[in-house]
Symmetry: C2
Subunit: 645 residues, 2 copies
């Protein structure tokens, strides 16, 4: 039976017809209304609640709704089906504020000294000068082009797409049969012939820029570097929240959402929109004599990201990633073209999705191992990638073992009430006076604070713990004796900045729920590397170095990170903070085919240890859900700091 569903709300006035038992979320989707589902539509987060003002619905689950909510007509859109004509009020949706900025993305990166275009770059340009056709030589355009490749460059067997044939006739004739070919050199042993990527009228300057990009698709943040493939220089660095966040905050929620009706297509489009938006933004930063650079001029993209992100980008079902025995469809996606993938760069541009190792150790880690240098380390080294997934690799140039755990997006500022990315307006460090419990803080850019980023959250947690605002269980001590410590809507909270000081005029706080999310995140990461080290029988203390990657990794305060029990208690000079190691690895692979092959070798060499099959992980995780840990002896420096307070 068909029912009429009416939606109202701020700027919302829509009507759709749907059949009995249609989910409210699907009906809203059909009506073009965007309802956030950070848990991926599992009925767990409660953030898709809408108000049924008239008509019959059936609630499959009311988790996260109070009896009072239900009495007022609230229902979870992802768990409620229609049973008749219904009128729905959509409350204002939580917005993930989008701040397109490079403020803190900027990583210092120098062109590798051994990069030598075109010898170590698989994409290059070639000048061709064709003999014009005549009544005595009626060879077709493509054969004529192939002859020029053969006679002028000794190149045979070049593959050309139908798409390029569509423009070939015009391009060849535009500048009197002189053209610049952009080609990707192939590897016949691996079944990859040399391929024509683009054909451009006239002879371009041989050393003019040839554009490409390195991309890291994080569960929470997507980072893109725009690169001149000729000089190897990075010309722009941009980042943005992954547009999929409103459909699931972690990979498991995304996988669940992707398995819903047209969910996979939607997630694919959302991340493509994010990347294509970043491409536009990055290109605007590059002024050329003939105007701004445009994305269509890019001829190569190298992409890193965890296995789920890679599957969702390519539209490949990811369900088996989360079901035992946790199998990806593909760890080494085939090299494909921008047209196939859906990137708005040159249609036949190479899109190289880097290889991963397993369901929860993806190309972000293989790229990270490369860029961190772990694969060449003489001594045993620990590499941590602190992101929404916490991955750990332990090893040296002879062996590599790896494991992963789901940390959640708290350290990237998502899933925390006043969380934000490390950009202008973010509180990046906090100090609390142990007497008055009054905080001082530092804001990126120096203006009024808008929220707290990952490093700010770490230092806040540490300070609040050391000053007794939080106990070791993370509970807020409401009797601490400061108006900043108070009972909020979600339990105890601490006010970091009063509304009078902030950009929005609202108090910036950290709540009990935020603290739980942060504790779970740090406990997962800590449990990951400790269990891994135990597994291979290497005491953590004996590791030579701890390399820390992650989009916030470069600005972390080691002392504070140790104090909350995120990092092991070691001499600070053994830590190295590397920033986004994933995009950096993608950048190396984009430039240099030898580095690209090295990543494939790294992927083959890494031994993956599945933590979900391991009870010791769960034990380690629960023990680490404290500040800094149930076992304080593991953190002697914290023990002594607590003694001093």
């Amino acid at each position: 039976m068909e029912h009429s569903i009416t939606f109202t709300g701020e700027n919302i006035d829509a009507k759709v017809k749907v059949s009995t038992n249609t989910l409210l979320a699907d009906a809203a989707h059909d009506a073009g209304i965007d309802i956030g589902q950070p848990c991926g539509g599992q009925g767990r987060c409660g953030r898709c609640a809408v108000q049924v003002t008239s008509g019959d619905v059936r609630r499959r689950s009311t988790l996260r709704l109070s009896l009072d909510d239900i009495a007022q007509g609230y229902a979870l859109a992802c768990q409620t089906v229609v049973e008749g004509d219904v009128a729905i009020y959509i409350p204002p949706q939580e917005k993930i504020e989008r701040r397109l900025t490079t403020d803190r993305v900027v990583a210092e990166v120098s062109v590798p000294s051994d990069y030598e275009y075109p010898f170590t770059q698989s994409v290059r340009r070639m000048h061709l000068t064709l003999t014009p056709p005549s009544m005595d030589d009626q060879t077709d355009d493509w054969s004529r082009t192939q002859t020029a490749f053969r006679l002028q460059h000794r190149m045979e067997q070049i593959v050309c797409s139908v798409g390029l044939l569509r423009k070939m006739g015009e391009v060849l004739r535009e500048k009197d049969w002189r053209v610049t070919a952009i080609i990707e050199t192939g590897n016949l042993e691996e079944g990859h012939p040399t391929r024509l990527i683009d054909l451009r009228a006239g002879h371009e300057d041989e050393y003019a820029p040839l554009w490409g990009c390195a991309v890291d698709i994080g569960t929470t943040t997507v980072t893109l570097w725009l690169v001149d493939l000729v000089t190897g220089q990075v010309k722009a660095q941009v980042a943005e929240y992954n547009g999929q966040i409103s459909r699931g905050e972690d990979v498991v929620s995304r996988i669940i959402y992707a398995a819903k009706k047209s969910g996979g297509d939607e997630l694919r489009q959302r991340v493509l929109d994010t990347i294509n938006g970043l491409l536009e933004l990055a290109c605007k930063r590059v002024k050329l004599p003939e105007g701004n650079l445009t994305p269509e001029q890019l001829v190569k993209a190298t992409i890193a990201g965890n296995s789920t992100m890679m599957h969702l980008l390519l539209g490949i079902p990811a369900s088996n990633i989360r079901l035992s025995p946790f199998i990806t469809a593909v760890n080494q996606p085939p090299t494909s073209t921008a047209r196939e993938v859906g990137l708005n760069i040159s249609p036949e541009a190479v899109v190289d999705c880097l290889p991963g190792v397993a369901s929860y150790v993806g190309a972000d880690i293989t790229a990270g191992v490369l860029s961190s240098g772990l694969d060449n380390a003489e001594n045993v080294t620990l590499f941590l990638d602190v992101g929404t997934n916490g991955e750990t690799v332990l090893g040296n140039r002879d062996w590599l073992v790896t494991c992963a755990c789901s940390a959640g997006p708290a350290f990237e500022g998502a899933g925390v009430v006043n969380g934000m990315r490390a950009t202008t307006g973010a509180i990046e460090e906090v100090w609390i006076n142990s007497e008055t419990l009054e905080p001082t803080y530092r804001v990126i850019g120096g203006g009024k604070p808008k929220g707290i980023c990952g490093s700010g959250l770490i230092s806040l947690l540490s300070e609040a713990f050391l000053t007794g605002i939080l106990d070791k269980g993370g509970n807020v001590n409401l009797t601490a004796g400061s108006s900043r410590v108070r009972e909020g809507a979600h339990g105890g909270e601490y006010v970091v900045a009063w509304g009078a000081e902030t950009e929005s005029g609202e108090d910036i706080v950290i709540t009990r729920v935020d603290i739980d999310n942060l504790l779970r995140a740090k406990a997962a990461i800590y449990a990951g590397f400790t269990v891994l080290a135990e597994n291979v029988g290497i005491p953590l203390e004996t590791t030579d170095k701890v390399l820390v990657g992650g989009s916030f990794g470069k600005y972390i305060n080691v002392e504070k990170a140790v104090q909350i029990g995120l990092l092991p208690d070691m001499e600070w000079n053994r830590f190295e903070f590397l920033g986004n190691t994933s995009v950096k690895g993608a950048y190396y692979a984009l430039l240099d085919w030898r580095k690209r092959e090295r990543i494939s070798e790294i992927a083959k060499r890494m031994t993956y240890i599945e933590l979900s099959a391991d009870n010791s992980f769960y034990d380690a995780f629960t023990s680490a859900l404290f500040l800094p840990h149930t076992d304080l002896r593991r953190f002697p420096s914290v023990e002594s700091a607590l003694g001093k307070v």
Copy 2:
């Protein structure tokens, strides 16, 4: 400036807004109204005339419109631009009646005795049994599949598309990790790796049918054979007018139309619609235990057609084909996939567009030479392909020369008032009593006549000439003394069937305009082979055999074809009528990779002679614009027949 254009007519009531100087044809297109443009929008045929009932337009050309027409407001939609708000009446459009049928397409074809599946077929099935994954073996799906290829079939380096990865996970698990892979074996020397085409759950019977199709895209008619690649048997044969006809009756008109705004996209879609329609029709003819065959089950398509048809199918601009020095973009299109081309068969199915030789000698001819056996002939042989383009090949197993000329679609029943394809209801042969001038005729299927097909037109022309209804210039003798000979709307005409006898109730006639079209068609073909023979210095009489291909070729009456001067006057037993040699060649190439390679060799070996650069062609053409020819000594048998009448 924006103007409002209103369209009315039978079942037409539309309005669009367009800017000043928009063509009426484009405005109608925007309004979703289909106005036929058989000349491709050149203002030559006059068939897109519409009536301007109010408002200002500017007529760039009024060719084909009388002063009276213009006074009544008629204007050519392809030559008239709007200059203000305009109201347009669309007269009823000429319809090319579509008769989806196989009645006369059916060609007797036997499976070549040397076809041996799978050894000579490049597409084959393979059974794979994968080791299911476990916590101890978390290899990804695609690597697991590759391992099975390696261990069970010793096959390495198979290329898999992202599209197949999207369904791989589900297919592998559906029947417990037992799958049937459909692969195309590659040729690494030519840069083609082995490719996975499809993956199906379970182990299919090794000798169950594997479906493919051979297609001939004619300018006028598209023919498709549905083939079981395992047995080689043809399971259905279907044909249909090419949906592009209403946008140009010959290749030159199509090329001109394709160069207009979105014209190329439209023509591409039209021929795809035709082929996809034929696929549906052919599949319906095949009953399987589980229901009808569906196009999605086809894994290979081999396509022949002239160079323009091939360019338009692939969306490649064809303009340079008609501009001196007449250059194609590509003679050997890259092997591609159904997804790329737009065929509704299995998305990764092989689509093999056969190679052509030059702008006007395409894959229809290389395929025709193969299937006619000309390339293996001991003695010098003439091969004619009688279609909208008339192509001629002269040669033997040692050499091949070829030329082409534009004959027009008259012999395929298009461009002739009562013309139709050779199918049920078509008059296929006519006899005229020399005393009474009364005709008798034979109708395909035996019922009431609907029109006249190619063989009927040839015999009608010949009989009318021999009985004096037509003079040698093709003029209708209005004083012949029969009510069947009369003045019609377009000059003299002869009534073949009175309305009382016909399916539609209207008279079936042949008009002066029809006769002109037929004379031009036969003169072009005749001039083609005579000039070619002269060019290589081989007297036509010395050729051992004349092989005649063409969709009507099998039903032609040699005597009549000689009498109108279409075929040379030689002993009848030296003619062989082969039917559609193009689709037959595509069929051989579909089955057998050795035949496919042979076609590439034929394309390389053929020497193309450009007639447009040759004045002798024009002389030969004008001399042949008579019945049978200005020089009656070339047709001694006709001379003697005329003596007998």
